[in-house]
Symmetry: C2
Subunit: 304 residues, 2 copies
DNA sequence: GCCAAAATCGTTCATTTCGACCACATCGTC
DNA sequence: GACGATGTGGTCGAAATGAACGATTTTGGC
């Protein structure tokens, strides 16, 4: 039960046509095995060998696990529980994040994406949890501030790159707008929200950090989104926040769905706010967003 | 992800014969990879680097992601002053930035890069100047805050994408570290510094925003960079800043080159700081960085 | 286990690129 | 001006590439 690639996967990874890959296989340049039905399958080790021998680099990520450069270790028996492998990946990502190793982080993220496919889980379990861990380490003096900030930069880079892996959202999709409010400089959560909403076929636009709610109101009035998300990690002045929030909710149209989330929204604060949904993580946001805007292109909007 | 060009595409973009392109590739002037069948393929980053190093201009649009859809005109006879076309591009970018039109901004930036080749000029004249303009408009009530913040997000996205157009920096290159100090949340300048330093073949690592100078010191001591940049847009407490700055300069090794820049460094403040160089923009930073670390790739000398 | 959808097969065909060669223009030197 | 060295643009048959097609296999849901 070893990993194998199809001609199409190889073609996309090298950005050449499928025809060429087939020809190369037939010529023996890429060692190939055949299924009983005659389809070509390229074992991953052979493919890596081919990459090395012809001095070729991947131009697109492989849809399965792969370490491009070194790291011949970690062969990971398939027998091993995938949950455990998942934990390993998560830990390794955290370590690379602390070390400031963007390349490894990128690779691990792509691997996670290829294996699990869900950006929301990636956002929660790879990025959010590890950044939270890094924050704890910093608070306890186990990590430097610059490591935490650099980790933010690395995650931001990866989020931007993941964005490019998502198929373009049609202009007919509903619009979602979001940001962090005044005084909240923590940009990652809002960037992640944009990412997972796009994955769920929303036309998501992140307005960034530190946006006064009065300006959010203006944005909503002008762009008329279907959904508005607010990521609140930190609040400077609670009562001022509640006031401006209530003012915003009075002004924007009724039909705008407001989703809020973030550590800043304590159990005590939330009852004072009116909103459509509260999300603790990106998995919740995704499932809510999909419930609102089913991603079926097909009709029959009834039931399930 | 990483696009590749054929000899014909390059030839048309430069309006030279295909034979010449092939010869240049074979001589190593344009780094080339080969398909399995022996066809030449030029990775986009290498091509852009070639453009820049030989001071060549694009005369026809590239058939890749840099397609020009939004501007049906612009056949740009060499007769028309390119300076004027440049201004048009600059203005159009600013407009799209205000409108939150990422796609158009991306296109314009790529076009600028392909035509003028210098990321530093792009950073100064497209991004910095337009963000400054947007800031002014906001101050004078001509633009909403959210438009300014969104503009930041768009620019950040574009910077991340431009990073992928730069050929990978060899691990033997000198290391550059940088960030913005405590209380300064303005991330773009530092991201631009990272970008243009990479373009000049530095191994640049941006540590992000809001990093206490004490932690910067720790980073320098641990990673031992050759260059340290500080982008200072805003200072909360001047005397505290000067104190921590001087403390940092006392602690880090002598041989570390310290480059500072940003609006926050007023004429009055600068004399109180010790530094290697002060830069008002990215063009200056680039020329300084290149003086320090020459970028000439060695000779031809191969052939036979 | 069965069925429909999706992916891959082998093949053919038009287009592009290769490598090699040649004609011509532009230099700098004698 | 003759000369060689060098760079450019063009042509040619051979080879590689990429896209198309109907037929077959694999996949995934029930």
């Amino acid at each position: 039960m070893e990993e194998q690639l199809t001609t199409r996967q190889v073609a996309e990874a090298l950005s050449v046509s499928e025809s060429s890959v087939k020809r190369w296989c037939d010529r023996g340049v890429i060692p190939t095995v055949r299924t009983v039905g005659g389809h070509r399958r390229i074992p991953l080790p052979q493919f890596l060998e081919f990459l090395q021998e012809t001095d070729r680099k991947l131009v697109a990520p492989l849809p399965t696990s792969l370490k491009t450069s070194s790291m011949p270790t970690a062969p990971l028996g398939a027998g091993k529980a995938s949950a455990e492998a998942q934990l390993d990946l998560q830990r390794e990502f955290g370590q690379s994040l602390r070390d400031g190793d963007l390349a490894t982080c990128r690779e691990l993220a792509l691997r996670w994406y290829a294996q699990h496919g869900g950006l929301a889980q990636l956002a929660d379990e790879l990025i959010a949890s590890n950044m939270e861990l890094l924050g704890h380490q910093w608070e306890q003096g186990e990590a430097q501030v610059y490591q935490e900030r650099r980790g933010c930069e690395i995650c931001s880079t990866i989020i931007h790159e993941l964005n490019r892996l998502i198929p373009e959202v049609p202009a007919s999709s509903p619009l979602a707008l979001g940001c962090t409010p005044s005084g909240d400089p923590y940009c990652l959560a809002s960037q992640l929200a944009e990412l997972v909403l796009r994955e769920s076929h929303w036309r998501a636009e992140n307005m960034g950090t530190n946006v006064p709610l009065s300006s959010v109101t203006a944005a909503v009035l002008e762009k008329r989104p279907r959904l508005l998300w607010l990521s609140v990690s930190h609040i400077e002045n609670q009562s001022a926040f509640v006031d401006s929030y209530q003012e915003m909710m009075r002004t924007i149209p009724e039909h705008v769905v407001v989703v809020i989330g973030g550590r800043g929204l304590t159990d005590e604060l939330r009852p004072r706010l009116k909103y459509t949904a509260h999300c603790d993580n990106m998995v919740q946001l995704t499932s809510f967003a999909r419930a609102l805007h089913g991603r079926r292109p097909e009709i029959t909007a009834s039931d399930n």
